[in-house]
Amino acid sequence: MLLLIPLLPLVGFLINAFLGRRLPKVVSGGIACLVMVASFVVSLMSALTASRGVDHAIQQTVFSWITSGDFQIPFALRLDPLASVMILVVTGIGSLIHIYSTAYMHEETDSEYARYFSYLNLFAAFMLVLVLGANFPVMFVGWEGVGLCSYLLIGFWFRKKSAADAGKKAFVVNRIGDFGFLLGMLLLFATFSTLDFQEVASKVAMRAPEAGWGVLTIATLLLFLGATGKSAQIPLYVWLPDAMEGPTPVSALIHAATMVTAGVYMIGRNAVLFTHAPYTLAIVAGIGVATALMAGTIGLVQNDIKRVLAYSTVSQLGYMFLAMGVGAYAAGIFHLYTHAFFKALLFLGSGAVIHALAGEQDLRNMGGLKKGLPITYWTFVIGALAIAGIFPLSGFFSKDEILFRTFSSGRTVMWAIGLLTAFLTATYMFRLVFLAFHGERRHDAPPEHPEEEEPAAQAAAGDLHGAHAAAHSSPPAPRTPDPGHARAHVDHGHAAHLHDAPPAMAIVLIVLAIGSIAAGIVGIPHALGGSNEIEAFLAPSFEAHATAPANSEFQIAPPPGEFVALGRVEPHETADTGTELILMAVSLGVAVAGIGLAVYFWLPNRGASERVAQSAAPVYRLLLNKYHVDELYDAAIVQPIKQGSTLLLWKGADAALIDGAVNGVGAAVRGASGSLRRLQTGSIRAYAASLFLGVVLILGWYLMR
C-alpha cells in the first residue's frame, strides 16, 4: 500500500521517459497527471488508515536492501502523522501543479513536453521516498534524487546558458550540504549503530540533553548543514534565486512548495535528536531568523518577479527553521503546510503573468495587468494577503504560531527580527502586486526575438529608473524570457494581446486560493477558540516511542515523555492567552503597516520610492546586489578552488608530476640506451674480443676461487 505512493509517479516517469517521444501531449501530460492524482488518493487513504492505527503509524518493509553481517538496512517506508502531512502536500500540490503545467508548457514540442513531465514525475517519486523513508539511507536516496531532478528541471531549457549554469550551481551547492548530511548520518551510525529513525530516537531519549559540544551536537550540526543546502538557508541559500531559470511550475513545485522544505522535514523527523542538542537548536534558530531577515531585505528591491518570490521563499523557510530551532516543531511543519499553498499560488500566479506577457519577467515592464488578468489578479492578491499574515488567511495562523512560540521561549530578539521580517514580507509582496497589476501599462509589445528584448527593456528601465541605472554602473540585465513562450508568441503578433490564464491554469489558481484561505483551519490556536488540531495530530511524530524494536539493547526504555519534555517548550502552560492575543494583534498590525507602506510607496506616488532609493543609494545598491554574497563566494571559495585546481592540481600534480614521471621514464630509457648502443660497433673483432674477455674473466673467477 505505502509502496504504491512513490511507485505510481515512478511508473509515470518510466512511461514518459521511454515512450514519451512518440506520445501526443494529451497522453503524456494526462498520464503524468493521472499517476499524481492516483498517488494523492492512495496517500489520502493511507493517511486515514495510519491516523486510526496503533501509535498513529503504518510501516512497510519492501525488501532487505543492504545486509552485511549484523548491519541491516531494509528498504522500509513508514507513514506517521508528520509524513502524512508531507505526502499530502507533495501529492496534492504536486497534482495541481502537474495540471497547471499541461497548459503552461503547451508550447513545447511533444518530446520536450514528455521530458518535462517525466522529470516532474521522477521528482515526485523521489520526494515521496524521501518523506516516507523509515531510516536515514532510504531518506538519503530520496534526498539525492530530488537534488538530481531539481538540477534537471532548473536546466530544462539547457540551450540557454544561464539556465544550464543555474542548474549546475544548484547541484554543486546541494552537494556541499549532502556531504554534511552523509557525515552526520555516519556519525549517528557510529554512535548508535542503527540508522532507523525510531531506533535512533529511542536511544537518544535514553540520554540527557547534551550540555556542551558532544557527539549529538556535532551530528545534528552536520545534518543541519545538509538542511541548509536543501532548504536554501545561510550559507548555502545562493542557489535558490538562480533556480528561477527553470519553468515557473517547477519553481512552484520544487523550489517553493516541496523540495526546499525537505530540510525542515528532516529536522522534524529527527525532532528527538535535535531536542537533545540545544546548541544546535540555538544555531538553527539563529540561522533561520538571520536568513529570514536577509532574504526579506533583498526581496524588497529585486526587479524580477520570480526572484522576489524566490527570496520570499528563502525568507519563509527561515521562519520554519526558526520554529524548529525554538523547539516548536509542529508550528514549523504547520507553516510548511500553509506556505506550500500560498507560495505555490503566488508562483503559479506569476507564471500566469509571464505566460500572458510572452515570457516577460521584469517587474519594471509590467503594470496595469489587473484588468486583463482578473482571475490571476484576485488569486494573487489572496496569496499575497496569506503570506503577509492577514487575519483569517492561513499564513496568519502559522506565522503567528511561530512568532508566539519564539516569544514564549524567551528569545525576544529573534521574535523582534521575525516581526520585522513579517513587516518586510507584507511590504515586498504588495510592492510586487502594485508594480505588476496596478498603475499604467509599461509593457508595450512582446519582443519579436529574445535577443532584441534586452535593449528594449534596458531603455524602459532607463526611463523609469534612470536615476538608479545611472547610479548603478551595471543594472541587472533583464532576464531573457522563457524561450518556449517567446518562440510561441511570435506568431501572435502584437501588443494589446493579453490573455488571462487558460482553464487548466485558472482552476488550479482558484483551488490554491481556496487552500490559501482555508488551510489554516487545522491550526487555529486555543487563544482564538480553536484547538490547534495539527499540533495534537503531529505530536506523536516528535516523540521517542516506548515501543523500541525488540533487538535494541536498551530494553528497558523509560517513559518517553520525560526526557523529551526537557527540551520542549510548553507554551500553553507558561504563557497566558492574553499575551498570545496581544502578540497576534501586534503581528497583524505589523502586516497591515507593511501593506500600508507598500500602498504609500508604490500605489499613488511611485516617485516616493525612487526618492528613497536615491537618498539611500548605497543601501539600495547593496540590496540590489544581494549583499554581494555571490561575489564574496566567488572570491572566497570558487576562485581559490579554481586557482588551486589550475596551478596545483592541473599544472602541478597532473602536468608536472604524473606526466613528468611518464615522460621521464621514456627519456631516461632513451638516454641510457643512447650511450649503451655505442657498444654495437659492427666490428667483428670487437665482438670477438669482448667474448674472449668474458670467457677469460669467468674462467679466471672460477680458477681463482
Binding site: R677, R678, R685
Partner: protein
C-alpha cells in the same frame, strides 16, 4: 715419455695461435681457418684427457666437434663468398652495417 702436460701445452699453444689469428688477420678466410685451429686445439685436449682417464668420452666429443666444425666451415665459406660478391673485399672492417 709424453705426459698429459705436453699435450695440454701444445693444445694451449695451438689455441693461442688460433686466437691471435682471429684477432690479428684481416682476411675472413684466414679468420675462419684460425677458428678451425682453435677448435682443433680443443679437440686435442679432449682426446688427450680421454686417453689419460682411459675413457672414450673425449673421442666421442671430438667427433661431435669435428662434425660441427665441418658444418661451420661450409656455412662460413658460403657467407664469405656471398660477402665477397657484395663488397669485393674480405676485410671484416668493411662489413659494419649492423652498428649503431
Amino acid at each position: 715419455m709424453l705426459s698429459l702436460n705436453h699435450f695440454l701445452v701444445l693444445s694451449g699453444i695451438l689455441f693461442s695461435i688460433g686466437t691471435a689469428g682471429v684477432f690479428l688477420r684481416r682476411n675472413l678466410i684466414t679468420i675462419l681457418l684460425s677458428i678451425e685451429i682453435m677448435l682443433n686445439a680443443v679437440n686435442l685436449t679432449f682426446v688427450a684427457v680421454g686417453r689419460y682417464l682411459g675413457t672414450v668420452d673425449g673421442q666421442i666429443i671430438t667427433f661431435f666437434v669435428m662434425t660441427v666444425a665441418a658444418a661451420e666451415a661450409a656455412v662460413g665459406l658460403a657467407l664469405v663468398i656471398s660477402l665477397f660478391r657484395h663488397r669485393e673485399t674480405l676485410s671484416p672492417d668493411a662489413f659494419t652495417t649492423l652498428r649503431w
